[in-house]
Amino acid sequence: MKIVIDRTRCVGHARCAAIDPELYILDDDGYIASDGFDVPEGKEASAKRGARACPERVISVVEED
């Protein structure tokens, strides 16, 4: 599973990091610090919840075959 983030549209709610601060790393201003990542095994549910918590809806979950 992959997380893809449309970083330019992040406005700093920081809800993803409130769900999982290890997956969703913020910069010093509290905005998302990455464009996405491969989800480590066992962290899928947390990654999905983090994506869903984004009020801007700029985090997508890409399921791989």
């Binding site: 406005v11 920081a14 918590a53 009020p55």
Partner: protein
Amino acid sequence: MVSSVELVRSVPPHVPTSRVYDFDFHNDPLYAEKGDMHDAFAHLLSNAPSMFWTPRNGGHWVVLEHDLVAQAMRTPEIFSSVRQAIPAMPVDIVMPPIMLDPPEHAKFRAPLNKAFSPKSMQEISASVRELAAELIDNIAADGHCDFVGAISEPLPVLIFMKLMGMPVDRLADFREWVHQTLSNTPEREIAYGKVAQLMAELIDARIKQPQNDLISRLIELEIDGEKLSRELLLGYCQLLFIAGLDTVVNGMSFAIRHLARNPALQEQLRADPSRIPDAVEEMLRRYPIAMPSRRVVQDIEWNGIELRTGDLVLMALPAAHLDSKAFPDPQRFDLDRDNVTHITFGTGVHRCAGSHLARIELQILNEEWLKRIPSFRMDPDKKERFHAANVLSIDYLPLVWTI
């Protein structure tokens, strides 16, 4: 008092009769009739068009539905933040960053992002907790309090005044001024003058002797290699005064009012305080208090509605969060709600810069209050008081508990 008649405007030709609905967001009789401001917005959702034009307060649109509010706030090319106040500002002043659009907005917003980042707010959480405990301990043995005067006013306002560098002994004056700046009466202009004078004095004092506070930081701030003009610096400080002195106060009051009316939820959170962050999110979802506004800067048909340059638009966030298309059974407070992704702090680039401070303060308040005060309820012998403006405010919240 300006009579409301002077603020009434005739319906402009591009607005069809089917979209006209009479609603005065400052003083509508619906608020008193329902006895609850959020219930009034729920009533509008069922009875008024999803986006309507009201002739009150100079004439403006009101957006009720969640999807429309979210779209509008994310589209600054149509819905600008420049000269967006309803009614129009009584004085010619630009308050960065809230009254700026992209791309200028981001440069002015940057210092706030840093000052109010989740990390910076974690660093002040111990001092928030200490003040919360002290204020609650002051009244715990009384068995009753006006929650606004005792807790929700001093707690966030004192914290903010210290961050800002404002004299904390003038809390009562400043709270009066902030209500006046948000009113639609002639006092509004006078209050803006008072805030400007106060901020000018504080800026002069910090220029002579910088402190570790927000005013000093803004004086030092450089944008494109230049410091802010006196005018913009003053506008920026005026905005922070208004934004910092009224919002969390009401967020706290609505949260504790909900608990006072729901003893089972109090028990649940006392038994398991780890649910308090979830409860805070649902309190924010159920009781938004801010209604930002925008000004249309294009002649455009938007979602089937004709808009004209200069139209003013009120984003009714309290209504948007009671829209059943976004939140099933929206009036029910549901700690286990499937979707708690709210936009109570706004959406788009103007997301409330103080949101991380507000969340930490609300969480700490709930923790310390529930730890120190036994089962509490609304005082049956006294009557709560509230008023509406761009911020929905509880003025008096009488509570009782058994000691």
